[in-house]
Symmetry: C2
Subunit: 360 residues, 2 copies
């Protein structure tokens, strides 16, 4: 079969983010949005109308109906985190490949059940972290891996915050303990942790220590927190994530030879062009009155937005399994699991009064 | 007397940084570099030649000789930190106003002796933190204080590192336990801590917790470390300082309404023009495909470099005391002391296995 065989995707639940993904699926040349399911048919119909889905899109009044459709190869699941366990596992058992919104699980024990279900069914599991699929992120990873331009990573500081309004803080699923119990840590911290892992070539830290002053809502859901991660090779990372501060998405990474700055790493300022700045072997002029060189800006253009590139990457793997006899790519669930392990360690450290928690 | 009365300064020791300061004194319209002292006359002569000091500059073969000169109003002391105690105190007792290089003391107990000596003699004490005197830093402080543009500070990440060569790591006074026992923390961390204090309008944190993975040399001097600071109002700060990583000097501060980024806060990329970027009430477009607004760059020009502005500020205070009957300005030693208190807490936290240390 052609390497660009069309893969038919279903979307399981009409969350806000599903709008962005349905657009991404349309933009992805190898994807067909086969159908959309909600808990009622009328909700699925509303979603189809609001997003101008073509009339050929199949609409389902239950998640089971979509998962029972043999024409569907893969599903995108943006359900609340606590519903990932039943539905990602059901999808896997019904041989659907799973693109799972983050945070993938409430904790690593639950994630492992999802991973096992996918392994047993031979389906691909990938989490919905879009930004790592932007070519800028690959360019940043190349910079981190460059022994001349960057050298050895020494420290990294990341943050992701946005200022949630009262309606969000009262009603969003991300502040509900029974839906997304990890709150800002699972939603925003997930990205910061992933950025630290990217810079460390996905090596797990040895210790995770929560920063003081986390903020929780009355139901105990984290609205703001931070942590430091430390690796055995001496690297130290810190991150802050919050629903209570102005929109910010920073990576500042410092190596022996180079420094990288980016201030829009999760969603680029512009859809088709993104940049990061680097400086290698920074130095001062002779009297330390000014810098000898200034950072340089690296602009990375892309025809497809990062969420379409994520879908494309996922479907390439699905195509390989479905049409070319390949096995699921373990890299993605492995990275997901490492991210989740660190999330769990932050929660444990907060619960233990900011003690260092060993990660393994 | 005229408010621009000339103040005669002496420099106590010919450290590298004294070159920059002797230039700054020449650039400062209210300053006269009266003389330079070293432990031997020939060293002072070499310094005068190397820096093209005018032949009227008095050269002294001992620090005492300079301090005994009644024509000297004020001294700049860039001696190694462990020598601040004897010489800053002697200078104060001899009624010389003291501009003291940072770190000001090995610990706050020693600093308090210097502060007391200055208070008893009625002389001004100011530390040599140059960057806070740049008009950009005032513009940043204005932004932090702006309830509309920035709102309430929530988190701040700062760092200062430079990659020291083997000669530095073997021979520089900043790696010698008997000279500058605080190493990178006193030298580079000092600035990061000061930036956190600036953003907090100089309110002390409640707790200081060192990050894991500090690096010390064989003599126990810190070459690299970091810490988190937490305030009672919920703010959390983290910083990294290092002699072992590429030249980096960052502030990323996030408030409820605004975000500030600067990547050259200690020494601007250019001597006469510096910038920082801000974004207020950041948001996405309707589908969260891109940002609704991008950060804006604020450029601050200055005729005099920040070190000359520091000298000018210091000498304005000296002029007020000497010629207008004013008292020493307590603001500066108070800020110095707060910086030193946090330095001490980082050391204590490292020594106690990264426990949180209360600051008061």
């Amino acid at each position: 079969m052609s390497p660009t065989a069309q893969i038919r995707i279903g979307i399981l639940c009409c969350a806000d983010i599903a709008r962005k993904l349905s657009r991404a699926i349309h933009l992805c040349p190898t994807a067909t949005l086969h159908g959309v399911a909600s808990r009622t048919l009328s909700k699925a119909e509303s979603f189809a109308t609001a997003n101008s889905l073509p009339p050929t899109t199949v609409l389902y009044g239950s998640y089971d109906a979509l998962l029972d459709d043999p024409d569907i190869d893969a599903v995108y699941i943006p359900l609340p985190t606590s519903l990932h366990i039943p539905w990602a596992i059901t999808a896997a058992r019904k041989k659907k490949h799973v693109l799972l919104e983050k945070p993938c699980a409430v904790n690593v024990t639950e994630l492992d059940q999802i991973i096992s279900a996918c392994e047993e069914s031979g389906v691909q599991l990938m989490d919905g972290t879009m930004w790592v699929h932007h070519p800028r992120s690959r360019a940043m990873a190349d910079f981190f891996a460059d022994s001349l331009r960057f050298g050895q990573l020494k420290s990294i500081q990341t943050s992701f915050s946005f200022f949630a309004d009262d309606d969000f803080l009262q009603n969003d699923i991300r502040v509900k303990p029974d839906l997304d119990g990890l709150g800002a840590l699972g939603d925003a911290g997930w990205y910061c942790i992933r950025a630290c892992l990217l810079a460390m070539n996905y090596e797990l830290p040895k210790f995770v220590t929560a920063l003081r002053n986390p903020v929780k809502n009355d139901a105990g859901v984290i609205l703001s927190c931070g942590a430091s991660l430390s690796w055995e090779n001496g690297v130290v990372a810190t991150f802050n994530c919050s629903f209570l501060a102005n929109l910010t998405m920073d990576i500042s990474a410092v190596g022996t030879n180079g420094t990288l700055h980016v201030t829009d790493f999760i969603i680029p300022y512009e859809e088709k062009s993104a940049s990061f700045s680097t400086l290698t072997k920074g130095s001062f002029d002779e009297m330390t009155l000014a810098w000898a060189t200034k950072p340089s800006e690296h602009i990375v253009n892309t025809d497809l937005p990062q969420e379409a590139l994520m879908v494309k990457e996922f479907l390439t793997l699905v195509d390989g399994i479905k049409n070319h006899g390949l096995n699921p790519e373990k890299k993605w669930p492995t990275i997901t699991r490492k991210t989740q392990l660190i999330i769990d360690a932050v929660v444990a450290s907060i619960n233990r009064g900011f003690e260092a928690v060993e990660v393994y």
